[in-house]
């Protein structure tokens, strides 16, 4: 269609096109300087949606990692406490065997052994009351400062200190106090009995205590292996959650960060286009018939 073109319509048209071109340059410049594809949600609602989802998911996975490390610290404390306890009980076993072999009349020797057993019992009690960050690790979830009182009676509960370390994966970061030291601190009661038996009379029946000490030792070793297994599980899960954080962060960057070479090239193209538009506009707007009339 033929339509009249006027100087003003050329000027308005050129102005609009220059504005549009400048707008595109501005958008690219904004992306280049921020390094982000999005400056506001409506730039791309889908990317916005995914970005928010990724951010939340990254937060969740990071927290799994933090929970995991806390769980490992708990288990490490339990591990150290149980290792110590095993050593104590082995020493008790050695002493018990020794006492069983001591002559029936050697009350002094048995008394000496009994004193050592008493002090070993105290050591065991202090291991059993090991704290992590002020919290007795064998007390379950019950309020209180100790897992076993001075007599060796259990003060905690069977509560599980669980750590969320993966989607719907909870790992117990504690082992039960009763599991490690016998029901209601049976091991401590047994040590008290042993000491009493050693101190009194003929030393008959000491032999029976060897089996009982072995039972206590067995409980500790079982707990120790549980702790080891859980630590391994946590370490494996930590790797998983770390890897997941990395891959999520990568994906997040893929969608929200600019592709630098591509954006730079686009920016240069845009700049060239803008300069060309400026040059040609300057040439188009200038001449009128006036320039050619004498």
């Amino acid at each position: 269609m033929f339509s009249r073109i006027t100087n003003r319509s050329i000027a308005v048209g050129s102005m609009t096109n220059l504005q549009a071109s400048m707008n595109r340059s501005n958008k690219l410049q904004e992306q280049l300087s921020s390094g982000q594809v999005l400056s506001k949600p409506s730039d791309d609602p889908v990317v916005t949606n995914n970005s928010i989802q990724y951010r939340t998911e990254i937060g969740v996975q990071e927290q799994y990692g933090r929970n995991n490390l806390d769980g490992q610290a708990w288990l490490n404390s339990a591990d150290a406490a149980l290792q110590d306890s095993v050593k104590v009980m082995q020493r008790v076993r050695d002493l018990t065997v020794q006492a069983a072999n001591t002559g029936a009349n050697d009350t002094t020797a048995r008394r000496a052994i009994a004193i050592e057993v008493d002090s070993l019992k105290e050591n065991l009690l202090s291991s059993a009351n090991t704290k992590y960050l002020g919290r007795p690790i064998f007390a379950g979830t019950k309020i209180g400062d100790v897992a076993f009182d001075a007599t060796g009676a259990f003060q905690g509960d069977a509560g599980v200190v669980a750590r969320r370390v993966g989607p719907n994966v909870d790992v117990a970061a504690n082992v039960s106090g009763e599991g490690a030291f016998g029901d209601d601190g049976a091991t401590f009661a047994m040590l008290t009995d042993l000491s009493t038996a050693l101190k009194s009379g003929s030393g008959a029946g000491i032999n029976d205590f060897i089996t009982k000490v072995d039972t206590g030792l067995g409980l500790l070793k079982d707990s120790l292996s549980t702790v080891g297994a859980r630590t391994n599980q946590l370490e494996a899960l930590k790797d998983t959650s770390d890897a997941r954080v990395d891959s999520l962060t990568d994906s997040h960057n893929d969608i929200t960060a600019i592709d630098l070479p591509k954006t730079l090239i686009e920016y240069n193209l845009q700049k060239t286009a803008y300069e060309t538009a400026l040059a040609s506009t300057a040439k188009v707007i200038q001449p009128t018939l006036m320039d050619f009339l004498r």
């Binding site: 308005v12 506001k40 949600p41 928010i52 969740v60 927290q63 919290r135 929200t256």
Partner: protein
């Protein structure tokens, strides 16, 4: 035919050429005046009206006659331009409203509500891990301050939205006043134009001015124009006439003291435009966009913010206070205050004030469960916030592309108007040359007639002298 009729004829020719040059000058002078329509001298050949015994067969015409100065306009093109400009103005205003809304969101970014919520879940999880009174009390403090940050962020969002809403509400009154003033001006111009046309003078410049005023009215309200006799126009908004001939009505806003709570409450009230005392709804234009934003868009967004606040309060309280003990909640939410009605109820970090474990234990199971909120999409406040942000973003994007489209359509129809009414300097220069030549030629004719008469008067009857 008299002896001097030739002189008379050239005088008319000179006058016509001169007038044409003047009009060309007027066109060039207004080449860049917005709304100016180029003008042309209408001329026709003059005929000798002699008959009867005066009838002659061999007589030239009586020169040229100027019949008027006309304005190059096309009513259809003008009407289309007016309508497109009104639509464009409406869409631009709507896009601006959405743009302001989403700029306030801060999404996606490190200062966004998403991030605040994520930080809060983390602080709950950390509290779930915390043991020992020092660690617990500092973890609880962190939970409280992060939760307060969520409350503040929502409050900030709601406040900026309320402020934007208030500005738009006040804006509506200003726009209505502007429309009133413009309507009065159209009526006044109507009157002047009628007088000018009745006295037979040219009203071209007045018509241009009235077109400008009417266009402005259309951009404000999407007003429609109906031509009437005497060169006047009537202007309608909705079904109400705001200009009838030389009379205009007052436009104002009904309910100018409306509050956001009233606009979105049950039995919602609305801000309305009224002509005199009749409520009208503008067909398009800035006013329509403003009223829509005030009555529908922003109350809707505010409602979505409030839903998010409600969701946060509900989900956290359901875990924190499963028995629903009175006063035992973590968050309080006052629905009448919108998203700003969210507040943290827990006052301190002591065991008595802060319930994060099953009673009688230190299992921190409540804190742990709260830290796991984002794992369950159906219950996570983040999920509902995400869908709110996404829907706002989509609305904003759609509004922006509609505005872009409307702007380019408006540009096209304005170019179409320019094609009919605009001044082309080349054309004017060409005309100027033509008129100048016509003038010179007419002057030459006068000179020749003059010389002929000189010969007749001064040199005849001298034979033999």
């Amino acid at each position: 035919m008299s002896t001097f009729s030739g002189i008379n004829l050239t005088s008319k020719a000179l006058a016509a050429a001169q007038r044409s040059m003047e009009v060309t000058g007027q066109n060039i002078a207004n080449a860049n005046t917005p709304g100016y329509s180029r003008q042309r001298v209408d001329q026709t050949e003059s005929v000798v009206g002699e008959g009867g015994i005066w009838a002659r067969r061999n007589i030239a015409g009586d020169g040229v006659e100027i019949t008027g100065i006309s304005r190059a306009t096309d009513a259809f093109v003008d009407a289309r331009q007016r309508q497109d400009a009104a639509t464009s103005a409406e869409q631009q205003a709507t896009a601006k409203v959405w743009n302001d809304v989403e700029t306030g969101l801060g999404e996606p970014g490190s200062a966004s509500l998403t991030q605040r919520l994520t930080d809060t879940y983390k602080s709950w999880s950390d509290l779930g891990n915390a043991q020992g009174s020092d660690a617990v009390s500092s973890a609880r403090t962190t939970v409280l301050s992060r939760s307060q940050a969520v409350v503040d962020t929502l409050k900030g969002l709601d406040e900026s939205l309320t402020q934007q809403w208030g500005n738009l509400r006040d804006n509506a009154s200003v726009l209505a006043e502007d429309a009133s003033g413009t309507a009065a001006r159209v009526a006044e111009l109507n009157n002047t134009i009628r007088k000018a046309l009745n006295t037979g003078s040219s009203a071209n410049e007045l018509l241009d001015q009235r077109d400008q005023a009417v266009n402005h009215l259309a951009e404000l309200t999407g007003a429609r124009v109906v031509q009437r006799d005497g060169g006047m126009v009537d202007v309608y908004v909705g079904n109400a006439a705001i200009v009838t001939g030389d009379r205009s009505e007052t436009l104002s806003v009904r309910n100018p003291g409306l509050t956001l709570a009233q606009a979105k409450g049950a039995g919602a009230q609305a801000l309305q435009l009224q002509v005199g005392a009749t409520a009208v709804s503008p067909d398009s234009g800035t006013l329509r966009a403003t009223l829509d934003a005030v009555n529908t868009t922003l109350p809707g967004v505010s409602g979505k913010y409030a839903d998010t606040a409600q969701k946060i309060a509900d989900e956290v309280n359901a875990v924190y206070n499963p028995a629903g003990t009175a006063g035992g909640d973590f968050f309080a939410f006052d629905a009448t205050k919108g998203a700003g009605g969210l507040s943290v109820l827990v006052a301190g970090t002591s065991d008595a004030q802060f319930a994060d474990s099953t009673p009688g234990t230190v299992d921190r199971s409540i804190a742990k469960t709260l830290g796991q909120l984002p794992e369950n999409p159906a219950r996570s406040p983040s999920t509902s916030w995400r869908s709110t942000v996404t829907s706002l973003a989509s609305s904003s994007q759609a509004a922006e592309s509609r505005a872009d489209l409307a702007a380019s359509v408006a540009l096209k129809s304005s170019a179409a108007r320019e094609a009919v009414s605009g001044v082309n300097l080349d054309e004017e220069m060409t005309n100027l040359v033509a008129f100048q030549h016509a003038y010179s030629a007419a002057a030459r004719v006068l000179t020749s007639i003059d010389e002929a008469l000189d010969t007749l008067i001064n040199r005849t009857g001298l034979v033999g002298r």
